[in-house]
């Protein structure tokens, strides 16, 4: 979409300029010249079908992958000019599967690994670990064996390990997969709190209603391109656009769009909004 992005003002946290990427010289190109600017303090969702390039793009942000051509700047640093370890201070990455990231025996050791590698004093490391344990409500498990925790708790541990690094930009890949409703809500509340604290949050997800309820800006990535980028309400109420990316609007939006002739706005995003609109129309 060509219109300017009102949300992306201010200093850039991440700037991607015409980035192309292929995993091997002879392999297919998986990103075809992607440009994206994320301002400091934004909360952004990346949605789209598997294989569309979401995770590849996210790995360009923290320098885990370098673009084949084009540039990626994270907090002003060209990712080609910095090591992954340096960039890890700026961008934290929570993987979809916590077991891809957990390796220590004990919960405390796992969380302490990152801050220790930042060269912090032992006192500061302890403080970071304590704060992270409290934030994700894992205090009761601090001495537990990491792999004996249930899936939801392992997900929280993965989040805590990234949080303890205190990076200004956090990328979370499918934060709610494998979690029940309570688990999902507590992780999402945590992301909202971090964002309120001024951190930049980028969430990769398939959960459209989560995006509709919580995330102000949405980027659709499909076939290695950015198909749409704008305020969530505009992106998620554009049914034709979503269909191109094999996505559907939230159920309340679909229902609202079929009730347009009765004066219900077609860009309703949440249960509360639809209830309010219907209440108004039925009382009229």
């Amino acid at each position: 979409m060509a219109e300017p992005l009102p949300l992306a003002k201010g200093e850039a946290a991440i700037e991607v300029d015409d980035a192309r990427f292929r995993y091997s010289a002879s392999g297919p190109e998986v990103l075809h010249g992607v440009s994206l600017r994320v301002a400091k303090g934004e909360y952004l969702a990346m949605i789209g079908q598997n294989g569309g390039g979401k995770t590849t793009l996210a790995k360009l942000f923290n320098g885990l992958l370098k673009p084949t051509s084009g540039t990626v700047r994270t907090a002003g640093i060209n990712t080609r000019d910095a090591t992954v370890a340096e960039l890890a201070r700026t961008v934290g990455y929570v993987y979809q599967n916590p077991d891809h990231q957990i390796f220590a025996q004990k919960v405390r050791t796992e969380i302490a690994f990152g801050p220790r590698n930042l060269g912090l004093t032992p006192e500061e490391v302890t403080k970071r670990v304590d704060d992270a344990l409290d934030l994700v409500e894992l205090r009761d498990y601090e001495d537990a064996f990491a792999f004996s925790l249930g899936r939801g708790l392992r997900q929280k541990l993965a989040v805590a390990s990234v949080l303890a690094m205190s990076p200004p930009v956090i990328v979370v890949d499918e934060p709610t997969t494998g979690l029940d409703l309570q688990g999902s809500r507590s992780i999402l509340d945590l992301l909202s709190r971090w964002n309120a604290d001024g951190r930049t949050i980028i969430v990769i997800t398939h959960d459209i209603s989560l995006v509709a309820e919580r995330v102000p800006r949405t980027v659709i990535i499909s076939g290695g391109n950015i198909l749409a980028d704008g305020p969530t309400r505009d992106v998620l109420s554009n049914a034709d656009l979503l269909q191109k990316a094999f996505l559907r609007p939230p159920q309340v939006t679909r229902v609202a769009q079929r009730l347009q002739q009765f004066g219900i706005p077609p860009n309703v995003m949440t249960v509360h909004e639809l209830r309010d609109e219907l209440r108004r129309a039925l009382r009229a």
Binding site: G150, R248, Q251, L259, F262, V271, R279, L282, R283
Partner: protein, 292 residues
């Protein structure tokens, strides 16, 4: 309530309790599933949903069990032989796929049951057709997408010609496209194969469209059950800030009932019915306004 329904019992569970060495998983389950019924199971992690599924399949884990499980009239216990009349599909298709090619994978089950090789060869294409993988018979399994792998796992189960299909969160690891592909196949199965289906699923919107009856489990017990249009009215479980998730339309309609704008008898959890109902109400109120 269940005994009022007609039809033969496909599954009957009486006072089932199960304890893993470290914790209790099932705390007295009573359940009847009629032949041809589609029963959805939902509830938080650790409620006992998966334990119930594996017990119904006769794959009773290590632990203490009491109570009785009858499947197709036969009692299930640890020493029961392999249950040919029921099949199970798990969350992660990777745990279930063995063959290098799609055809090899589908053949694996019946080969192990010493079915006639000609019979197996003849049944592979038709089984793959049901799950819409007929074009992939000779494809290598590692090349399939997540949704295709899960449909292959369903084909692996189907070729054994079960009467009862048990699915434990078959779509939770898939993207929206894969999810839809798999749920479409499951929805058609019962009509084309006259199957009894028990499916654990968190996607309330899909469950409301597909299931005849939904069971809510919590801490090893069944806390409520009923047809979607009755169950999703239960305010003790849904419609609270910390409650379980109901379909979005159910939440909206429940709110309008609270506002006194709809009658409780009009409640539905299904999208199509909700749109029809709301269009009727909005049309009527517009007509009233224009006459007033």
């Amino acid at each position: 309530m269940q005994d009022a329904q007609p039809g033969e019992k496909a599954i009957e569970v009486d006072g089932l309790r199960f304890r893993y060495p470290e914790r209790e998983a099932l705390d007295g389950i009573d359940l009847v599933v009629r032949r041809g019924e589609f029963v959805g199971i939902t509830g938080p992690s650790g409620a006992g949903k998966s334990t119930l599924c594996v017990c119904l399949k006769g794959l009773i884990p290590a632990g203490e069990i009491s109570g009785r499980i009858m499947v197709s009239g036969k009692e299930i216990d640890r020493v029961s032989p392999f249950q040919e009349n029921s099949a199970i599909v798990f969350q992660d298709p990777e745990t279930q796929i063995i063959g290098l090619t799609v055809a090899e994978d589908v053949a694996f089950g019946p080969e192990n049951l010493k079915r006639d090789p000609d019979w197996i060869r003849a049944h592979i294409p038709e089984t793959l057709k049901i799950v819409r993988l007929e074009a992939y018979e000779n494809a290598e399994t590692y090349q399939l997408s997540g949704g295709q792998k899960q449909r292959l796992a369903i084909a692996d189960a189907l070729i054994l010609q079960p009467d009862i299909m048990i699915l434990d969160e078959p779509t939770s690891e898939l993207d929206p496209v894969g999810k839809e592909e798999v749920l479409d196949v499951i929805a058609r199965l019962r009509h084309e194969r006259d199957l009894t289906v028990v499916m654990v699923e968190h996607a309330a919107e899909q469950l409301a469209e597909m299931a005849d009856r939904i069971i809510v489990m919590e801490a090893g017990r069944i806390v409520d059950q009923g047809p979607p249009n009755i169950l999703y009215r239960n305010a003790a479980i849904f419609h609270r800030p910390d409650g379980e998730r109901a379909p979005q339309v159910a939440e909206v309609l429940y709110g309008l009932i609270e506002d006194g704008l709809l009658d409780e008898s009009e409640f539905t959890a299904r999208e199509e019915e909700a749109v029809e109902l709301l269009a009727r109400k909005l049309g009527a109120s517009q007509r009233l306004a224009s006459h007033g």
